[in-house]
Symmetry: C2
Subunit: 511 residues, 2 copies
Amino acid sequence: MSKRALSTSREENFPEWYQVVVRDGDMAETSPVRGCMIIKPWGWGVWERIQAELDQRIKDTGHENCYFPLFIPMSFIAKEAEHVEGFAKEMAVVTHHRLKNEGGKLVLDPEARLEEPLIVRPTSETIIGDAFQRWVKSYRDLPLLINQWANVVRWEMRTRLFLRTAEFLWQEGHTAHADRADAMAETMRMLEVYREFAESVLAMPVIAGEKPANERFPGADNTFSIEAMMQDGKALQAGTSHYLGTHFAEAQNIQFQSAEGKLEHCHTTSWGVSTRLIGGVIMTHGDDDGLRLPPKIAPRQIVIVPMLRDKPEDAAVIDYCTALEKELKAKGIRALVDAKPVKSAEKRWSWVRRGAPVILEIGGRDVSGGNVTYMRRDRLRDGDKVVSHAKTRDAFVAEAASLLDDIQASLFQEAKVRLEGNIVAGMKSFDEVSAYFGATETDDEAGGTFKGWVEVPWARPEGGELEAIADKLKALKLTIRNAPLGQGKAAGKCIFTGKPAKESILIARAY
Amino acid sequence: MSKRALSTSREENFPEWYQVVVRDGDMAETSPVRGCMIIKPWGWGVWERIQAELDQRIKDTGHENCYFPLFIPMSFIAKEAEHVEGFAKEMAVVTHHRLKNEGGKLVLDPEARLEEPLIVRPTSETIIGDAFQRWVKSYRDLPLLINQWANVVRWEMRTRLFLRTAEFLWQEGHTAHADRADAMAETMRMLEVYREFAESVLAMPVIAGEKPANERFPGADNTFSIEAMMQDGKALQAGTSHYLGTHFAEAQNIQFQSAEGKLEHCHTTSWGVSTRLIGGVIMTHGDDDGLRLPPKIAPRQIVIVPMLRDKPEDAAVIDYCTALEKELKAKGIRALVDAKPVKSAEKRWSWVRRGAPVILEIGGRDVSGGNVTYMRRDRLRDGDKVVSHAKTRDAFVAEAASLLDDIQASLFQEAKVRLEGNIVAGMKSFDEVSAYFGATETDDEAGGTFKGWVEVPWARPEGGELEAIADKLKALKLTIRNAPLGQGKAAGKCIFTGKPAKESILIARAY
């Protein structure tokens, strides 16, 4: 079979390819509710693995999970003046608490109007800050390290499954500290947790760095991000970690008595990742046959397809497969026999599109020879031809865990080569940047040529100067992603201002 | 110390005692949002254990997790006429998607009024049914077995932490089947999953049975429940499982092509348990010193309190405790050294109130003798005296897992004796029932004498006859809980109608 398993390729139309992968990979679908998605079992299974892996890391770094209300009183939002100027305007607002039947029609009950509208949380800084203000009394209560897994809602006008939806799922960490040093250490610790998680679990290489002032979370002193490169060259912000200074503590009165008996404001942080990560995984690893899932987040790591022929020999094939599944499970591998009453070719391609890391096809000849025939989803084809491997059953079982490790590593390596090979450095002027990215009208929805990121020196301008630069970039649909951490001393001149450079920044188109 | 650790006792004032246990046990607190709670880390840890244990059982019975939108279009609710007559009227309604700043004040943006209001899901039958209608085509797609963990909102006027809150967390299972037999088998299977889970994980004995017609979920053909007896004698409905017939399938067009090529409506089920279970655990096991958690859901099963004296010997005590924690963890036990800079007596009582199953107090003498001193939370006192046990460290570690098993079993046994000893059978008339429960004005909020449940024969009346009975019971603040499964053949006469009895039912006051 040389035909690809999808109706579109990445090269033909990347945005459409994305939609097809999500749909044909059984990950999610749009719902009748504007901008809200239905996450299907396979997609949800990926999220469950993401949650489990990340939750362990969040707990290992001393945080405790809590749960705060879905709703936030409007007055809380109003208090956060900086918030209101930011993303938080487009929000779902609850104004009534009852429907009534009027002449057989369901209508809002005007008598059930809320005195104060409630906002469906777009993020929980304000409601959690209010609790912190009650919980924190003395330096002994610090640091206070809280996380919550929750759904949040931001009324987005243009939505795309996983990448930008009105409702999405995430974790949001919120912490309070006695001083800047401790809060900043927390901010960087969680950024590093995200980096390590993205790379080792999602097999998605990222660049960790600091956002420029114009891309900060409203109210943050410093915002850090991890940025991943998608296969169309665009950047995806995959996680953020914010040092909030004492802004939120001042607005919400989060104070503590220091060891010296002085009343001081806490320094707070927040950090989060969301179901958007799943979009990142798809656009990092997917190919023209569909999704390719890193084994660590694949709901099923090894899928066994029995090749049945409606003959008495089928029973032996099924027994062989079931025994194999049991042996693999005993080794802690998420294995599955797909015994659905569907043609085996159809099953094979459905698992290819879903991105199961290893797919076995077991027929009568495998059973009699004591062998297995399998495909690696990460290296499905040689040219156009699908590649099958054969091993003795015993060898396959013995080596299954290391096969999965190898797939995990090879997906990461492939993406890492792409990321590292597509950051162009050495440009000396904005014109060069502009020429590299080409015409401004490059349409998201059309193919376009692959453009990576550029890394350029700048003088870290602020205020109006920075705004003017952001506008210039915006005209080319570009944004500054971050200033990578751990870069050496800056050399040369700022490409925007001509002043001596303070650091290097990454510029890219982005999701 | 003979004084109890709480400011109120169960006997003095049960409802107040409940609130104190929730607060002093660090489980949850009210939030600034009417009727919504903040679940604190210790309470959330309990919910995480509940989720993990139940989720495994839900998956083991063949269900897959999904995620559906938080919002439901108003027209979906309107379609479910029976729904509208039921609980679903009091709901949070989203009418706008934007706030704006008007003269420095945050207000609803009238231009951002939604064409169709959105309801924050009170339950997801309608939105999931809509997906089922798209997903189900042929008998080959059946059974379709879906579960979701989610937050839901019902606008409750009188709320109580965990027991009745506007927002609560739950799992809701939704399944579609080819025929009644298969759907009914599913309904009963999940009821049994709940029973086994409640008894073996929560150590909470329950009676599984069928609800009378007037207590059915709106739109259900049959509703089954598990009912637990709280320490004030009241019943708590701890889980429900509904056989929905073809009502929802007809309203939502969930049809399939049968093997014979006929188009038929599916038979559907739904079933759920919620954070309410935590309220049940508290009122089943709590005592006048606070919460007592069954080890299977205790976030920390064994807590080690080092007795420090600000002396150089402290280091050895801490080392000893840390090594012990490590050994226990290696055995899969959730152990914790509480090294907070707080007096050890304060720590002891804080863990008593939180209900940690085993609390160790380790001092210099334990270290030099190679011993541990510990308390069992389930049997904290002998009379008024707190009972400490001593063991060699090696013996304690070797027997720790079986000690936890023993606590789990003993909490269950204690509750089982209470349940079985407080169901009064043999009453022959409604007057006897009325006399047993006494005056109608018995106030929930005051002490009152302990009243269990009564089990009486009835003829399973329907329609107006049943309504009249329900009203009579309501005047005594009583409800029919369920008709227990597996009861023998009914004998005697219906206490309401005098007709030959068809079965026995349980009558009780309830949460």
